[in-house]
Symmetry: D2
Subunit: 341 residues, 4 copies
């Protein structure tokens, strides 16, 4: 069985595994108060050019989104995102579980636009409705697309104008920034976002996300929120060790970016082959998640040798599936898939 | 610096590390739907003689307590525990964050008694007050003490009589069950508790707790709760790999129990030496957490070579400190400490 | 200034006022434990043919919806309603504030259909998403439309089939049941709904809604929920006195139904006149809320003499406004409006 | 049956009833956006010398406490109060329902002291615990006692020093300020508290509490919170009409203060008589709630003619009961009670 099911189907990248082995018997204080976390936070500040930012390490993406958004908002304030937004669809109402509504804007490509933000704010004019206060975006998005630099700055501008925070879910930020079609620089994230997270789980770590809080108004007492939501890892140094490994050596040469490049390369070879073979895509993806549309029969046949998720049933006997590459995907797997279609 | 600070100051036990290395490049589905988790759940059911129970793996203790208690209770129902209860004191209001009050009963030794439970229920007679519905106990407790078999069954009986759930926090259950003073058998936990968790983080794992839900009425849809509270690990197999390693070979011969025995042995040697040297204890502990009381000056001196937590300032220039042993503590550390006092 | 702004722009119906005066100096126990509430609950059980139901009196609609839905659902369960649903739009995220997502189905006429319910359930297949568990409907709806008897039973059937509760918001149930186009009998509500509320605030009371819980599984401990959400009125008898007045004499002859008939009659005269004058409606309404579309200039002119809400700006220089009649509306007001257009 | 059960056993004071009758058929906008509320808010600002304060009218005390505290605190922040605090004991965990822990300080007389506040803060030093951020006090307290002016200022000082808000529950503030032993002036409340509420329900209104927010940092968007918690009364003017009546004519001559004086006078006559008859008190009360201790047999006999609450069973066959006077209590009732003991 060949896996295109997800970018978290294996353990961790060899470099991370080595570091975990190397440091296993060291003694440190718990809860992220250790030299490894300190070093990793410094590397991330350096990579994203945000010296003054607070960096917190959490275990997973849902937890990070929930902890951050619940800490940033007052009780009646709401998050705004596209109808594909991970917090709106795939996190079991974790934002609502902290008391906040998620306002969604219909979208096919997963990209939030300033027009959507304006419309969402305009539709909530008074105290009988929730108050939109935070825009949630993801890069790459839930369907593999990415923001351009100008789109990101335009979002920043509309958020500033309307008094909203801009928050970016970077679960697959490595693939996004490593994409050949990307023109966002790490420093753009720090310049545009009030907070964002740098994904580890889907980019080579055993687990872990690094939350970067840029806006000083959002920093105070954040560790209380991490602990209260159950996200404070006792052996917090495990997060420091992993992120330290992923980001050492400078952003451009980092293992983290290298993983993004590698998985994108395989994904693009796969996507090109699928298109060349005449199959349509739900959406063009420049990153490591692909959404080809195949006849149902072919999907059934592929499922015998390959593991992947079904995205949705289409009309006319066709099915859109999702293929994901990771640091652990081998080129032979891509070749085998292309041979099979 | 010698660490008696905690039982999570290092990485994981060598056997766990070996297993993580061995399985790192395997491909599996995510979120705990993998053969490792399945196998580990089976081993735990076997060890605790609870074939029909549901076993869920979560990352940490606060998360496990919060997810379980929030899932088990209706909005106005409350948890009852001692005034030392971890959920009452050291989890940043995580139970309250899900909407539930924690009712506390004053205690010095951390052991909840049937009398306390009766009094708590009697003090909440009508709908103007919360409704006590769940007893939270920990074994070993927050001050290292343990329940006897008869105490556990007495709690079960009062809970059944009054219609409360009995929930046991087993963060340090390994040390408790391995204690020479313990007479609780693993099957007693399944017979007495509606749910309990088997601690991994403080007993040799990198992280992880295994929640065992015995009461069928509490099982439905529990995975929704895990996901909603941010506790569903993408690479869930890491938990299965670790617990599979800790519990294979049968309960008596398990690495998990062996770790408990080892850390208890060192702790008892340490406690005996402290008592022999003439220092009092806050409470006699038969497990891996000790609470000796030293003159402030001695504490200051010890702090130069040893790392430990201060439990509390006592009267008369004395301080109670906490010393914890773990699988990684070496006997030479114990000897060094005894030499220093 | 003539008010078509709302059906809560005045105090209470004269019969209610008389009763409040008559009983003002009586002594009773608090919190709804009094003879007036007991009697009123009996009258409502009789009117809706639901002898075994629990009847609770609360102060307002948002409070009733919030208290009921939060009590009925487990943490990850969601309510389903149309995109116009009052809980989705106009209650400031009060359902989310208790931790639950509201899943919305696009609708122009405010009526939830079995197809929408099926689609909402189908779109939430696993624990990575919330679990739809309750359908929220309102009768009359937020745009004045009403359910037919067969539509109501069809909703009941799909809810039973899929394991969802059916909950009806009856803020304007009086106008709905009194409508000439209505064929729902009071007993149909008890037969179809797991719970519903009978509106007082918008139907002649100073304030108050009577929640009827039909499904025995939803009854236990509900008063805890009322108290916890701040909805337990100290002088609870005020609610009993009002609902006793509104429902005495049998359903058909009740003041409550009479108010519905009166406001509908005026509303229909108004709607007929508007249509006759050549103006379109957003939707045909058989109840006391009307949604005519006028040229912006006419709206501006009308606003000088009449008070009403703007529903929404339409294309082409037109505006949809909302006109509402109440027990306090005089026929001369209707005539004046029709003369003005 | 003679009622000493509560100060909300009847409808409203005649002056309030007259006003409700007089204004019943007026037309106004809803939700407290009406001239009556505006006028009443002005009278309260004048009475308490707080021109810049925001005044919001809510229906009941639990609702007011919940809405205010949930709006003022960040998720992990806690309220501090005595062990008798109404929010800690008698509001069904309504504060916890919004996610916040209530930290209690043991007390017999219901008065919070600066020492208690210091101790509570000292006991919560880091992010593993909740963060005390608001002191909740009530005047009169749950056992009828009152704060002195110097006690109130001392609390203000410790709160300022430690960065806590001071919040006062004035459910029975009328009785407190009208007490012969009181030396707090209305302006002291505005000078000391970040927010406080002026009770109507227990002081002559049908229902209603006036929340005064003095601290500008706590004002923003508060109406969202009222609506979200279900506390925004559709016919909000009812609150304005009532508080306008209670406070017109200047503070000293207000009906509100007059009611406090009246009920205190009867209560003190009752308390003096009880003491003279040789019965002990749980605590000396200078307000309208009394806590005499009688032999169980006498309590049984009294219960045949008088309605009152049992406060608690004492040792030695005695019971502490609670007697409450109100604007509706007649002097003959007091005489009858004294005759009966």
């Amino acid at each position: 069985m060949i896996f295109f099911q997800n970018d978290y189907s294996e353990g961790c990248h060899p470099a991370v595994l080595e570091a975990l082995n190397r440091t296993n018997f060291d003694h440190t204080s718990g809860y992220g108060r250790d030299p490894y976390c300190e070093e990793a936070a410094g590397l991330i500040r350096e990579a994203f050019h945000c010296e003054g930012a607070d960096v917190h390490f959490l275990v997973g993406g849902t937890q990070t989104n929930q902890t951050a958004i619940a800490a940033f908002l007052r009780p009646w304030e709401a998050a705004v995102c596209t109808s594909l937004g991970h917090i709106a669809v795939h996190e079991t109402g974790s934002i609502e579980a902290t008391g906040h509504k998620v306002v969604t804007c219909p979208s096919e490509d997963g990209l939030l636009t300033p027009e959507m933000v304006r419309a969402a704010v305009a539709a909530h004019p008074d105290e009988h409705m929730v108050k939109p206060k935070l825009c949630y975006i993801s890069d790459s998005t839930e369907v593999g697309t990415i923001y351009s630099r100008s789109q990101l700055y335009a979002l920043r501008d509309v958020c500033k104008e309307l008094g909203l925070y801009l928050y970016l879910d970077g679960a697959r930020l490595g693939s996004a920034l490593a994409s050949k079609e990307n023109d966002i620089r790490p420093e753009d994230l720090s310049a545009c976002c009030d907070a964002f997270y740098v994904g580890g789980t889907k980019n080579g770590a055993l687990f872990g996300e690094a939350l970067v809080i840029v806006n000083p108004a959002l920093k105070a007492d954040f560790r209380y929120g991490i602990k209260q939501r159950g996200g404070m890892l006792a052996k917090g140094r495990l997060l420091g060790v992993q992120f330290g490994t992923l980001f050492k050596g400078g952003f451009e040469k980092s293992v983290w970016l290298e993983i993004g490049r590698y998985e994108n390369e395989l994904a693009q070879k796969l996507q090109d082959g699928i298109v060349k073979a005449g199959y349509p895509l739900l959406v063009h993806s420049p990153t490591n998640q692909l959404f080809p549309i195949f006849p149902d029969k072919l999907v059934e046949k592929l499922a015998q040798d390959f593991r992947f998720e079904v995205q949705r049933k289409m009309a006319d006997g066709k099915t859109c599936i999702r293929l994901v590459t990771s640091w652990a995907t081998e080129e032979s797997a891509v070749d085998a898939f292309l041979a099979a279609i």
